[in-house]
């Protein structure tokens, strides 16, 4: 019990034993909750070594068979590929577009004051609701998107029903929902930067792009990285938009790992096989987070040293 508390100088009203216990008492409910969540998690990992399903309620131990089956199946590899295509596509577009929108709002213009207030709106709508909205707009025959495109000779585009376009359409929806997240973080970062270097650069006659690339971007990098970490992790495990738009179809063209696990575990009730997908996805997300947080730490140290 090494309780080095911040109030060592405080008058001793209670016994030191109770003082040492205090942080544990305060966090006890949180600890119980954590155990309550880690238990199903651990049980989930445990199940992957069995052949547990609704049709097989007396499961037997099968070792790594779920994993070897999974890695041997093309379903897994195609799902993993789609998952990464989705995550990389959304993160790259959202980061670039979000920083650009933040720059526009930061630069200030006649319309930016009003528009900044509504920037948050797409982010606060449930992704499922946003997907329903886009689904209405993307209907091939009656959707407004095809209607607006028809003067340009583009009509009858099957946004969600063709294997080539379905992934593109859901990346577009993800971009619509989550670009404000990047923009809000980047804008907050820009507004917290010191003014002096920019004034000095302006006096020296440095151009806009030069100032942005050489001065603002390096200082802004930690903020952008935070946004990238959140976006990449969230889009690796995106379920809502994909399920609501296509449920993984047409064919398996948008079948990401989470939707595949849902299909196997809940629809086909082979819990063990579905969970094996999730253990792998969890390991991927965990590993990439560790790497990105390390990069972030170094970037923050560099930015702190630079300013």
């Amino acid at each position: 019990m090494s309780a080095t508390t911040a109030d060592d100088r405080a008058p001793k009203k209670v016994s030191s034993g109770r003082r040492a216990l205090r942080p544990y008492l305060l966090t006890l409910p949180a600890l119980l909750l954590t155990i309550g969540i880690l238990y199903p998690f651990g049980l989930g990992v445990f199940y992957t070594f069995f052949d547990y399903s609704a049709s097989n309620p007396q499961p037997g131990f099968i070792g790594l068979e779920n994993y070897t089956n999974m890695f041997a199946s093309s379903d897994f590899w195609s799902s993993a590929l789609v998952t990464f295509e989705y995550a990389i596509g959304t993160t790259v577009i959202e980061t670039m577009l979000g920083v650009a929108v933040a720059l526009l709002l930061y630069r200030g213009s006649l319309v930016s004051g009003v528009l900044e207030k509504v920037l948050i709106l797409p982010l606060m709508i449930a992704p499922v609701i946003a997907t329903i909205m886009w689904n209405l707009m993307l209907q091939p025959s009656i959707g407004v998107v095809n209607y607006l495109l028809s003067p340009f000779g583009l009509g009858g585009i099957e946004w969600t029903d063709s294997p080539g376009l379905a992934l593109f359409s859901m990346i577009m929806i993800d971009v619509w929902v989550f670009t404000p997240f990047v923009a809000i973080l980047a804008l907050a970062g820009m507004r917290s930067l010191p003014r002096d270097p920019f004034e000095a650069a302006s006096v020296d006659g440095a151009g806009y792009w030069y100032t942005f690339r050489r001065l603002m971007l390096p200082m802004l990098w930690p903020y952008i990285l935070v946004a990238v970490i959140f976006r990449f992790m969230d889009s690796l495990k995106m379920f809502d938009i994909i399920y609501a738009l296509t449920q993984g179809g047409p064919g398996d063209s948008t079948m990401v790992l989470q939707v595949r696990a849902y299909q196997d575990a809940i629809l086909f009730t082979s819990f063990s096989q579905g969970l094996a997908y999730m253990v792998v996805l969890w390991a991927i997300v965990f590993g990439i987070t560790r790497i990105l947080v390390g990069v972030l730490g170094r970037a923050q140290a560099r930015a702190a040293g630079a300013s």
Binding site: M1, S2, A3, A6, D7, P11, K13, V14, R22, P23, L26, A30, L33, T34, G36, I37, F41, G44, L104, R107, G108, V111, L115, L121, P122, L123, A126, V128, A130, I132, M133, N135, L136, M137, Q139, I142, V144, W176, P180, A188, G189, S192, E199, S202, G207, Y208, V226, K237, Q258, Y262, A265, I266, F271, G274, L275, M278, L281, V285, F286, T289
Partner: protein
């Protein structure tokens, strides 16, 4: 009009043209961002017979809203019930998270104790875990315990969404609070609990309110938990709205009306906590 507000702006000949371009690009993005909402409002106001034959010009009616809210005819979807379920589950989840999270956040900010870092990072890791990793086993457990399709079961699992947010953000608020304030209260003869209740808690009250609303929004918007862990009793608006899209001839106007009604609570709350959003969304990793 420049340099003081926007240090990177570099006014040169041709600045007027740049001004126009910036305005145009800003408007272009916001057209993309706002048009779907505008279109959803349009569709929700269309009468059924003009749904497939018109785009922007039609005879607006509130019939879809009346049907969705059960005021006119039976839509076949108990939407009002779903709405109330969402309210009960989201409010219940946020209250439970506040009761558990405020003392924990305070302890993490003020004390360094064995295991504190591990517990804190485990709580944050809930935010990054694939939901189904926990929900699939919970589905099995809930069936056995009778928690499937119940409020209690949903409020419990929603802690995955609300607790990381509340603990991490409030911890950063308590950390910003200098401990001297509470220490002087202790010297004045307050107990630790009184010092917390009378000094620390009131100072972070705006933070507590903001994070409570933000976690309410995220609980309200959650989809995958109710999709798997409820059927008809405790189903929420996010899952309920999607059911309007099913069927042979989807009722797009009902779908749009339902989606708009489901989006109203989070939108109103979001506008009221804008000042606190940056810190909330990034879990305090970016102080806004």
């Amino acid at each position: 009009m420049e340099s003081t507000k926007a240090p990177t702006s570099n006014e040169r000949p041709g600045g007027g043209l740049r001004e126009v371009a910036i305005n145009l690009l800003t408007i272009l993005y916001f057209a993309f961002a706002l048009f779907p909402v505008f279109w959803m409002i349009i569709v929700s106001l269309k009468p059924s017979n003009e749904l497939f034959s018109t785009y922007f010009f039609f005879h607006p009616t509130f019939d879809s809203y009346r049907t969705v809210l059960g005021l006119a005819g039976d839509s076949g979807v108990p939407f009002v019930r779903f709405f109330m379920n969402s309210l009960v589950i989201s409010i219940g989840a946020v209250l439970l998270s506040l009761i558990i999270g405020i003392p924990a956040a305070y302890a993490f900010a003020r004390f360094h104790f064995r295991g504190s870092k591990d517990l804190l990072f485990t709580i944050l890791s809930f935010r990054f875990a694939p939901e189904l990793m926990v929900i699939i086993p919970l589905y099995v457990i809930y069936q056995k315990l009778g928690l499937f399709d119940t409020y209690i079961g949903m409020i419990w699992v929603m802690q995955l969404v609300t607790i990381p947010m509340i603990v991490w953000i409030l911890r950063s608020y308590f950390q910003d609070l200098t401990p001297e304030l509470e220490q002087s209260a202790l010297l004045d003869g307050y107990t630790r609990i009184q010092a917390f209740m009378r000094v620390a808690a009131p100072l972070v009250r705006p933070g507590i309110a903001a994070v409570a609303l933000l976690s309410f929004i995220f609980a309200w918007n959650n989809f995958v938990f109710p999709l798997i862990l409820t059927s008809s009793n405790a189903q929420t608006v996010t899952v309920g709205s999607l059911t309007f899209l099913g069927g042979n001839r989807p009722n797009y106007n009902l779908t749009a009306a339902a989606a708009l009604v489901a989006a109203v609570p989070p939108l109103i709350l979001a506008l009221s906590i804008q000042r606190y959003l940056v810190r909330g969304l990034s879990f305090g990793a970016v102080k806004g």
